[in-house]
Subunit: 110 residues, 2 copies
């Protein structure tokens, strides 16, 4: 068993301007099936628009913004859960004035 | 893609006094690998002490309490992530005065 506050985890540059990622629970903690990551997106910034073969399960911890797919933009805010299906093109935008922070769980892909 | 606020999901009795569960993302949403559930535990209450073959990946959204294993009690609070390994005996206790609310992600077990 392992407890860590997300803010005690060193953030990594996610390769996207204004976006940082913390790997909260993954292979280093012994997790056999999936990875819990914590993203923060600065105001006015967004994650890269992309698609991949695995799903996202997201919980918005702080802030507000939108998840954007080929079907358009859907508002998101603290307390929302977001399911992104495999192969669905998507990105997350911060449309607020504070950081947009969310948990994003994915299967191991390596 | 599907967005739902956790408080818009109907809570279910979890079979434990003072504990409710909302299934935020699961098979009904098409999720192929794992399930995101949202628990709330009333002040002074706790989840059942148990162990199972799958892991828990937890993010504490609100409140404070403890996760208790055979090694003792570890405090938890909003913003903490908790990894519980497969087969590790554990339960969650609300030791605060507001609800203890947390995301708990598990693999499909059916």
């Amino acid at each position: 068993m392992n407890v860590r506050n997300v803010y005690d985890i060193e953030p990594k540059d996610a390769g996207m301007a204004g976006v940082r990622i913390r790997v909260a629970i993954g292979r280093d903690e012994g997790a056999p099936n999936f990875v819990m990551r914590y993203f923060d997106v600065a105001p006015g910034r967004s994650t890269a628009d992309h698609a991949h073969a695995w799903e996202h399960e997201v919980y918005v911890a702080r802030g507000r913004g939108a998840v954007v797919t080929r079907d358009g933009a859907t508002p998101i805010r603290s307390g929302d859960t977001v399911y992104v299906a495999p192969n669905e093109q998507h990105h997350f935008e911060n449309r607020g004035e504070e950081p947009l922070e969310f948990i994003c769980v994915v299967p191991h892909t390596d």
